[in-house]
């Protein structure tokens, strides 16, 4: 099912749109502190931009091989989130209380702000990889069945 699209128009538009949507995903992720957006929306956009690459350019194209590599990173997002929570424990803080992140010279507000950014990156990574993983699971099974028939 998943192979390069026939139409030149679709492939050219895809080559233009895929980097743009990835850039937009990063913007949404890091702008989440100042406006609508954040880890969830940014992660989904990042995941779907790779899906667009897979559907338009086919499984042999570099972005798709990168997406397959990313699939091995399932759980890294959750690990970042829990890891940031665990770093807060150093020096006698409580879990996920970002004001206990030990950064000399920073006051509590800046530490909390940093903690929010880091955990959002974790959420985005988790969701992007999960979206890719589910779609690859669906596609893989189909191609197997098709080859049997």
């Amino acid at each position: 099912m998943i192979e390069a699209h026939d139409s030149l128009i679709v492939r050219s538009a895809g080559k233009l749109l895929i980097p743009l949507s990835q850039l937009f995903a990063l913007y949404v992720l890091f702008f989440g502190q100042y406006g609508p957006g954040g880890g969830f929306a940014g992660g989904v956009i990042l995941g779907t931009s790779f899906l667009l690459a897979v559907l338009v350019l086919g499984p042999q194209a570099p972005p798709c091989r990168l997406a397959h590599q990313l699939e091995h990173g399932d759980g890294i997002g959750l690990m970042i989130f829990v890891g940031v929570g665990g770093l807060c424990l150093i020096g006698g803080g409580t879990f996920l209380d970002y004001s206990n992140l030990q950064i000399p010279g920073w006051n509590d507000e800046e530490r909390r702000s940093l903690g929010i950014v880091l955990t959002q990156i974790g959420v985005a990574a988790d969701i992007a990889v999960t979206a890719l993983s589910i779609v690859f699971s669906l596609g893989q099974h189909h191609s197997q069945e098709a080859s049997h028939e």
Partner: protein, 179 residues
């Protein structure tokens, strides 16, 4: 307070919702559901919940549609056609009654105060504290992000865990045949 835009929005929402359950093929149902999600995103934005609108547009209209379509492409053609049986009388009478009971049950949540807004339970407990304190405490102008990622970080952590588990479960179920 209902202007023409909101009326048009509600009519479109109801039309698409009825359309989803009336169409004969699953693929049209999926596409109409995407339209419904997009209209819901407009409704959220209209109500001032921009973050929810963003996620609804991205997840509801975007990713879930892709997942539904990929699932349908896997299915055989005859499985995506629907034969609808006529609705039983019990459901026709009972479901509106149930809706009425639910609306009656939440009526105390919306007291007839000045516009109802400040008296709602949702607006009387911690909402004010979040609005006034969150920027000073977290240096994050977007209150939704501050609440989601700092005040309710445990919720978000476990939610992330749920999504991770869902991904693992899908991979286990769908890839179990490919040795």
């Amino acid at each position: 307070m209902m202007d023409w835009f909101e009326i048009a929005l509600v009519i479109l929402l109801i039309t698409t919702a009825v359309g989803v359950i009336r169409v004969k093929t699953l693929i049209s149902a999926v596409l109409i559901l995407a339209c419904y999600s997009f209209l819901m995103a407009v409704v959220w934005a209209q109500l001032g919940a921009v973050d929810v609108a963003f996620v609804e547009a991205v997840v509801g209209a975007g990713l879930s549609t892709v997942l539904f379509l990929l699932t349908l492409f896997r299915a055989r053609a005859k499985d995506t056609q629907l034969r609808r049986t006529p609705t039983p009388l019990v459901a026709l009478l009972g479901l509106p009654l149930l809706g009425f009971v639910l609306l009656y049950a939440i009526a105390p949540l919306y007291p007839d105060g000045q516009d109802g807004q400040p008296l709602r339970p949702a607006s009387t407990h911690v909402a004010d504290a979040y609005l006034q304190e969150s920027y000073k405490a977290t240096k994050t102008p977007n209150v939704v992000t501050a609440v989601l990622m700092d005040y309710r970080a445990f919720d978000t952590l476990i939610e992330t865990g749920v999504i991770f588990t869902a991904g693992i479960a899908c991979a286990l179920l769908l890839r179990s045949h490919s040795e």
